[in-house]
Structure formats: structure tokens, C-alpha cells
Amino acid sequence: MTGTTPNDTLVATDIRKTFRRSNGLFSPASETRALKGVSFEVTPGEIFGIVGESGCGKSTLARILVGLEEADGGSLALGARTLFGPGAPTVSAVNRGIQMVFQDPYASLNPRMCVGDAVAEGLAIANVPRAEREERVAETLSLVGLTPQDARKYPFQFSGGQRQRICIARALVMEPAFLLADEAVSALDVSVQMQILNMLLDLRDRIGVSIIFITHDISVVDYLCDRVMVVYDGEVVEFGEKTAVLDHPQNAYTQRLIQSVPRL
């Protein structure tokens, strides 16, 4: 439906974003350069980690990738399709084949919408017929470890971990090539965090979805990811195989970051 196949590589080239803030009539506007030209590739079936501390621009990047925010420059392509870039029409968020999971499962579900409707909403926007919607919602809920009967329940009836499963189902029901998780396990208890990490690993193995995992937690990257990109102050400072980056960091910031992580 989105025209993408699981075999497409996501290529981001020189993505830039500057936020301007007005300081009133008589002062010049101030500028924050959130992304200063970020380029990377994510290959099919891979779990790609984006690490950085608060304010480094990682969430801005996430919002640009899924289409919640517009970049000032650069381009993004999925296989042969240009999602945005100079001279190309910008593909809408629904049709990108990249779906997002947010940090706080309590804030990202509408409390007045039953789980089935929440998960089916994207399909409805994409004009999928009702019968097919129900079928796909049931399938996807089973995929994330919930039951098709859960579709009739409301968010308050679920724990934090289960809500995050619902959010993941809502993203997966669109059959995206890429799942983009922005700090998706940070708000969860450690015991539940491990359940969700294992589920993401299983999903990649079973349905071949690629995962872009944005986090500040190096130990989660070590557990989950294949390759990792370290972002500092809007720039990529280090990039490569997880083992290489974490065991032999070259950049001074990456070294400091890794040294600061308490180890068990």
C-alpha cells in the first residue's frame, strides 16, 4: 500500500533544522541550530540506535523522519522513493512507511478511545475497509502479546508495559518498513523494559521490520542494536557497528559518555 518493500534502505542526507524564536519587536530573533547536517543509512532488518543526551537533536531528527516536523534542508529516501528533498514532493506521514512509538505510553493513547479504534485509526485514515481493519487489528494485537479481545478495552485497563505494546501495535498495523522508537522504554520499570526489548527483537526476527531506536541509555543500545550513531549538539560524532563504537570509541564525547555509564 505504501509501495515500499522490506528490502528498502533508508537514506538520510544532510538533514538540517534550525528553530527560530522571536524575542519581541525590538530584539533580533534567536536561532537554535538543532540539526547541523545529519546523514546516515539504515539497512533492511537492522536495529539502528541513535544515542545522545537531552538537547542533542535526536528527537527533532525522529520527528523529521516520520513527518511530524519539516526539515530546513537535506533529503530522505526509502529505496527508490524520495520522502522529502529538493525538487521532490514531500510524502505525507501516513504514506512514508515509517511509524513512530513515543516515550510515554500514558500520554500517547487517547483515554476515551478503545484500543481497537486507536490501533485502527491509521488504517481508517488510509481508507482501509472496516472488515479488513478489524482483521488486521486482531492480528497485530496478537503479534505484540495482547489478545484480540483487548481491542474492546480502554487504555486505563492496561499497565504501562501493556500500553506500550498497544502503541507498538498501532505503529505496526500500518505494515511499516521502519519502526521508529523514541525513548520507548525509558518510562517503564526495568522488569517491563526487558519484556519490551525482547519483543522488539522478536518482531524484527519474525516480520523483518527495521527498527530505529532513539535512546540516552547506552546499556539498552548494547542489548538491542546492531549499529549505532552518536549525536552531539546536532551533529553525528560517531557512527558504526555497535561493538566497535562502544568498545573502542574514537570521539572524545563518545568516550566521556561511555565512561559515565555505571556498569554492573
Binding site: 522488569s191 525482547n198 527483537l201 546499556s219 539498552v220 548494547d222 542489548y223 538491542l224 555505571p262 554492573l264
Partner: protein, 330 residues
């Protein structure tokens, strides 16, 4: 002071005996902490670890008596330097808070007054708890701010909280907590909202101050790696029950309680091949749904029918290690 130290080192600075805490909501009385006992010695770094809802913050609040009695009821004994805290009149308690016992919180921005410069906020605690004159107070503020590694303490004292970053605010909070040379510092998830590089800075400051002033620290956290790195003694809470407690190298190093072991199994680290860390099935139950007997039994892979039968006795080992389990792993 040095002359009194040997005697003081023998008896604990803080002690909780059979502490139970109940939350009151109208007619309802919900038990949120059950029968918890632990001691903190002079200069000891004691960590209480647990997932959300385990009761760790409630214990801190009970010690500080931060909630009115009609909302939070405390049973059992809490004593500080041999004095029972429960019977202390509010005026006495007020002298202790910010004096001999001080506390730092998770989100420094909500604990600082946004309309008051940092230095002035520290001065307030000095005015209340000490008899220093204006000049001596200002010197003390500078001394405190440089102790938490502000390069220009005089300048920092003039700044408002919004002019500081998260890590700087937490350091300012620590300076304020230390203003009156406390004996016990309660730190409730002080680094959870901070980046790892800043977390390290803050932890190093707390640890250095503990070493320098022989401060006792009650550190509340959900982060086992952090606790492993800094704590000398660890108490593991689940469902308001102290599951295991003792020296760090025993509790974390040789965990006897299945919950402690399972919790350690939830800490992410590098996988080899298709390996998966087991984690713990299910979720932490709410205080209204705690099962009878062992609170962890429904998620425990070693549980048997006897685990549901009734209250689980505490097993003591080596005089410093307690385990509340019928089927300890070691």
C-alpha cells in the same frame, strides 16, 4: 568531634524497626509498606532499590514526616540518633528537617523557588537552623557552592534557578541540603532526570561529601548499576516488603532472593548471538491487588503453594544479610 566518633560509629545513625506505612483515603486504609527493618551506620551509603510502587519514596516521606498523619499512618519504629521520630513534636521535627536530616529530590526545579536567587535560598536554611551572622552566612554560601564544584560561587549565588541547567540545579540543591552539616542525607532518585555524564558528576559529589564529612546517605533508586557502583549496603523492596538486604557484595554479588536475581536479569547488557535476558514476566501489582503470602510469588519462577500460605519469615545470615524467601537461591 573526632573524639566522639568511635562511640557514635557503634550505634546506627538511623534505624527503622518493623516499619509499616498506610495510606488513608477517607474510610479506606491501604497498607503500602509492610514490616520493613534496616539500619544506617555513621558514614554509610545505604541504597533502597525497587521498581515503581515498591514503597521506597513512601519510606523517605515517612522518615521526614512530609505527609500529614491523616493521609499517611506509620506503625513501627523510626529512630534517628536514638530518638524516636514518631513522637517528636512538630517543632522539634522542623528543627531536624534541613538540619540534621536533609533531603534532595528527583526534580530540582520543583524543589527550588523560581523567584529567589540560589544564594538567598541557601541563606534561608542557614537563618532557620544556625545562628551565623549575615557576613558568616554569605561566606558559608560561597563555601557550600564551591564544595559542589561551582567555579564561581559568588556569581552562582546571584543566579535564579531558571538560569541553571538540570545538573547545576541538582548541585545547588545538594549545597542547600548540606548547609547545616546534616548527619543523614536522604536522596530520592536524585539523578533520574539527568543525563549520564551529569549523573556521574552529581554522584561523585555526593560520594566525596560522604567520605569527607562521614555523612550517612539513604539513596533511593531503581537503577541497580548505579547502586552497585556507589552503595555499601543495599535493601531491595518489592510491594512494600524488604525482600533482601545486606552488604552490596552479598545482595548484588551473590543474590539469594529470586526477586533480586530476577531484577539483575532485567539490566540490559550485550547479548551474544540470539541470547535473550529473561527479565520478569507480568507487571508490578498495585497495592490493592497484592497477593497473600510472598508479594512476588505470582511472578517468581521458584514459587510453590507454601509461598501463598502466609507471611514469609526473615532469614538472617552472617549477622548482616536478611532474606525474606522460603526458597532462597543460595
Amino acid at each position: 568531634m573526632p573524639g566522639t566518633e568511635p562511640a557514635e560509629a557503634e550505634k546506627p545513625v538511623f534505624s527503622a524497626r518493623n516499619l509499616s506505612i498506610f495510606a488513608r483515603n477517607g474510610q479506606k486504609r491501604i497498607r503500602i509498606v509492610s514490616d520493613v527493618s534496616f539500619d544506617i551506620a555513621h558514614g554509610e551509603f545505604f541504597a533502597l532499590v525497587g521498581e515503581s510502587g515498591s514503597g521506597k519514596t513512601m519510606i523517605a516521606r515517612a522518615i521526614m514526616r512530609l505527609l500529614p498523619r491523616h493521609m499517611l499512618e506509620v506503625e513501627g519504629e523510626l529512630s534517628f540518633q536514638g530518638r524516636p521520630l514518631a513522637d517528636l513534636p512538630e517543632a522539634e521535627m522542623r528543627k531536624l528537617r534541613g538540619g540534621a536530616i536533609s533531603m534532595i529530590f528527583q526534580e530540582p526545579m520543583t524543589s527550588l523557588d523560581p523567584l529567589m536567587p540560589i544564594g538567598r535560598q541557601i541563606e534561608e536554611t542557614l537563618e532557620i537552623h544556625s545562628d551565623l551572622g549575615r557576613k558568616a552566612r554569605l561566606d558559608r554560601i560561597k563555601e557550600l557552592l564551591s564544595e559542589v564544584r561551582f567555579a564561581e560561587p559568588a556569581k552562582t549565588a546571584m543566579l535564579y534557578p531558571h538560569e541553571l541547567s538540570g545538573g547545576m540545579r541538582q548541585r545547588a540543591m545538594i549545597a542547600m541540603a548540606l548547609a547545616n552539616n546534616p548527619t543523614l542525607l536522604i536522596a530520592d532518585e536524585p539523578t533520574t532526570a539527568l543525563d549520564v555524564t551529569i549523573q556521574r558528576e552529581v554522584m561523585e559529589i555526593i560520594y566525596r561529601l560522604k567520605e569527607k564529612h562521614r555523612l550517612s546517605v539513604l539513596f533511593i533508586s531503581h537503577d541497580l548499576s548505579l547502586v552497585h557502583q556507589y552503595a555499601e549496603t543495599v535493601g531491595v523492596l518489592y510491594g512494600g516488603v524488604l525482600m533482601e538486604s545486606g552488604p552490596e557484595e552479598k545482595v548484588i554479588g551473590r543474590s539469594a532472593h529470586p526477586y533480586t536475581a530476577a531484577l539483575l536479569n532485567c539490566v540490559p547488557r550485550r547479548r551474544i548471538g540470539d541470547e535473550r535476558r529473561s527479565g520478569i514476566a507480568g507487571a508490578v501489582p498495585s497495592p490493592l491487588e497484592w497477593p497473600p503470602g510472598c508479594r512476588f510469588k505470582d511472578r517468581c519462577e521458584y514459587a510453590g503453594t507454601d509461598c501463598a500460605a502466609g507471611s514469609i519469615p526473615i532469614e538472617e545470615r552472617d549477622g548482616d544479610w536478611t532474606i525474606r524467601c522460603l526458597r532462597p537461591l543460595t
